[in-house]
């Protein structure tokens, strides 16, 4: 966790293509509308949003750096400080709380030896409590990268922490989720 900023900031050609695709979804001159998506891409690529990363995004979209800082600090998914490779975001809101979210948070805190908001010494895990993730019927739950882990138990938490420790890639793009939803 020694990095305090980024020195080399640029997207690969492939990511630039993606950025241009996103910009292309909006009319001429409205490229600022791509900002939120591009910041997600940047965060996935660089881990967090340092000033050089945000300035780079501002240049890509032809806007002022302050316009990027304003947005990056408004939305709770963006990290403007370094975080671990895998963010465990546990929902703490009402419906999850009454189904045991607080116990899950405590269990993870004890297991990893960190508090809410902290990162493990090996830089793998950051624990963050977050507000309702729209999974109230499958509580308690946490999100890691893009993936929702629902109906959590201590055993399930053990399992997924083990799995992420072996393979600390939080970006589970495209992986099947196993919603345990109501029968229709």
């Amino acid at each position: 966790m020694s990095e305090t900023t980024h020195s080399q900031v640029s997207f690969s050609d492939e990511l630039l293509k993606e950025v241009n695709r996103v910009i292309g979804q909006f009319p001429e001159g409205k490229q600022k509308s791509a900002l939120i998506r591009v910041l997600h891409i940047a965060q996935a690529e660089f881990g967090w949003l340092s000033v050089p990363v945000m300035d780079y995004v501002a240049r890509l979209l032809h806007i002022q750096p302050i316009e990027v800082y304003e947005v990056a600090t408004f939305y709770s998914m963006y990290d403007t400080k370094p975080v671990g490779k895998v963010k465990l975001e546990v929902c703490r809101t009402g419906p999850c709380m009454i189904e045991g979210a607080e116990k899950i948070v405590k269990y993870i805190e004890d297991k990893l030896g960190i508090q809410d908001g902290e990162t493990t010494a090996d830089g793998i895990f950051t624990l963050k409590t977050v507000e309702c993730l729209g999974a109230c019927g499958y509580a308690p739950m946490l999100q890691a990268g893009e993936k929702y882990h629902e109906h959590l138990t201590e055993a399930k938490v053990d399992e997924l922490i083990e799995a992420y420790r072996k393979n600390p890639v939080a970006n589970y793009m495209g992986q099947e989720t196993n919603l345990n939803s109501a029968k229709s």
Binding site: Q25, P27, K30, K32, S33, A34, L35, I36, R37, L39, H40, L61, I63, E67, E70, V71, F74, Y75, S76, M77, Y78, R92, T93, G94, P95, M97, I98, E99, V130, E131, C132, L133, G134, A135, C136, G137, Y138, A139, Q143, E146, K147, Y148, Y172, M173, G174, Q175, T177, L179, S181, A182, K183, S184
Partner: protein, 450 residues
């Protein structure tokens, strides 16, 4: 068997993919609308259906559509609100994930009705994996000629894309959503002007919830009148309910708006009763913003009638003894839950989600959270209860956007119905840390005859 209009095909193997969706009657409404109807006729069907917005406010959709300004030469936009962040609500995610083409089909027909040629689905950033599902489905729709230029040779053009938020409940408020879609902070706009006149990029804009837009598909297919036959009074059609909390069978249910709350909670078709054989303590029937009801007002209204799962019946008695259908986020509390803790938890949510633009909400939500925290942890004073009441009263109605009201209502309702439990926290600071209060005593209400 209850009729299902949105989720009837949801368990068909492979329905998330284009081919299966199409084979099961998908995109019929696009063919019908674009080839045989005028945009105004589509609006007319939606009016006839009695469809009301499923995002929370319940505003009649057809009427909202007819308010859209149509100045010559200015593009108009339809935005789908897939921000779904109201605690207790998870139906839109279910629908988008399971049957994404239904939303896309609804977007095409609705865009046609409004004369919009560039539409967007704004989805909360945490649903990134759902965004990818939608993008895949949109690509399939383009590939099969349902999107793009000259759809079905009718001359109607439509571009559709999905764009994410990044963690902000407030972006579900329609003008904050528009700001966010413009790449800005999610600060709600001061109204007037309304989005119907000046919305996205200052152009006339309609914002509708995912479920609202999906419901347009069966309305166009079967006709508005057919849709209006389902339900009671002004609560027409079917409604998706996200059921959560201490129940045996949490999940998303599509109901006809005519069943009783009692049936919904206790029947095996739906929630299957309270978990672990406990007693019902309270219920928040429409997402965290709506007033909480104590056990004795959940299944019956104050007048002693059966409460129904409809807009009107859930609101029966006003805020004094009723609540709201809201977004359909149905949260059930058993006797072991603490109302003070839950109120504190919700208030912390609103404090966390306030955009901070206007003083009552920016300052008041944090203040209420601190007072509630103190009460919950046994350090409260008796005056705190009245203080809370006064703070919420000074927020409600005095803010730029309804988030202020949404923060005030749960506090007001908790005090209104559970005051004795708050007082107990003050009087029994030790006990309140060790156990929960249990059920509150039933109050009697003058059953209004006038």
């Amino acid at each position: 068997m209850t009729r299902k209009l949105l989720l009837d095909k949801v368990n068909v193997e492979g329905i998330a993919g284009y081919d299966v969706y199409r084979k099961n009657g998908g995109y019929r409404s696009v063919e019908k609308a674009l080839k045989t109807m005028s945009p105004d006729e589509v609006v007319e069907e939606v009016k006839k259906s009695g469809l009301r917005g499923r995002g929370g406010a319940g505003f009649p959709t057809g009427m909202k559509w007819s308010f859209l300004a149509k100045p010559e030469g200015v593009p108009r936009h339809l935005l789908c609100n897939a921000d779904e962040s109201e605690p207790g609500t998870f139906k839109d995610r279910y629908l988008m994930e399971k049957i994404p083409h239904l939303l896309i089909e609804g977007m095409i027909v609705s865009s046609f009705a409004l004369g919009a040629n560039q539409s967007y689905i704004y989805i909360r950033g945490e649903y990134m994996y759902v965004l990818r599902i939608l993008e895949k489905a949109i690509a399939e729709a383009y590939a099969n000629g349902w999107l793009g230029k000259n759809i079905l040779g009718t001359g109607f053009d439509l571009d559709l894309s999905v764009t994410p938020g990044a963690g902000a409940y407030i972006c579900g408020e329609e003008t904050a959503l528009i700001e966010s879609l413009e790449g800005k902070r999610g600060n709600p706009r001061i109204k007037p002007p309304f989005p119907a006149v000046k919305g996205l990029w200052q152009r006339p804009t309609v914002v509708n919830n995912v479920e609202t837009i999906a419901a347009v598909v069966p309305i166009v297919n079967d006709g508005g009148e057919e849709y209006a036959k389902i339900g009671i009074g002004r609560s027409t059609g079917t409604k998706l309910i996200s059921a959560g909390g201490n129940i045996n069978k949490p999940g998303v249910y599509e109901i006809e708006m005519n069943i009783t709350v009692e049936e919904f909670i206790y029947s095996d078709t739906y929630c299957g009763g309270i978990k672990n054989g406990k007693r019902l303590k309270a219920c928040v029937p429409g997402g965290s913003s709506v007033p909480i009801l104590p056990h004795y007002l959940v299944c019956k209204t104050a007048a002693g009638e059966d409460r129904l799962m409809t807009y009107e019946s859930l609101a029966d008695g006003g805020f004094a003894t009723g609540s709201m259908l809201g977004s359909g986020g149905f949260i059930v509390y058993d006797e072991d839950q603490c109302i003070v803790r839950n109120t504190w938890n919700f208030t912390r949510f609103y404090h966390h989600e306030s955009c901070g633009q206007c003083s009552p909400c920016r300052e008041g939500t944090g203040w209420m959270e601190k007072v509630l925290h103190r009460l919950e942890y046994g350090h409260g004073k008796m005056e705190d209860i009245n203080l809370l009441w006064d703070i919420q009263r000074k927020i409600e109605g005095n803010t730029i956007c309804p988030l202020g009201d949404a923060a005030a209502w749960p506090v007001a309702a908790a005090i209104r119905h559970f005051r004795e439990e708050f007082e107990w926290h003050v009087n029994e600071p030790k006990a309140c840390m060790e156990r929960n209060y249990g059920l509150v005593t039933e109050k009697t209400f003058e059953t209004a005859t006038a």
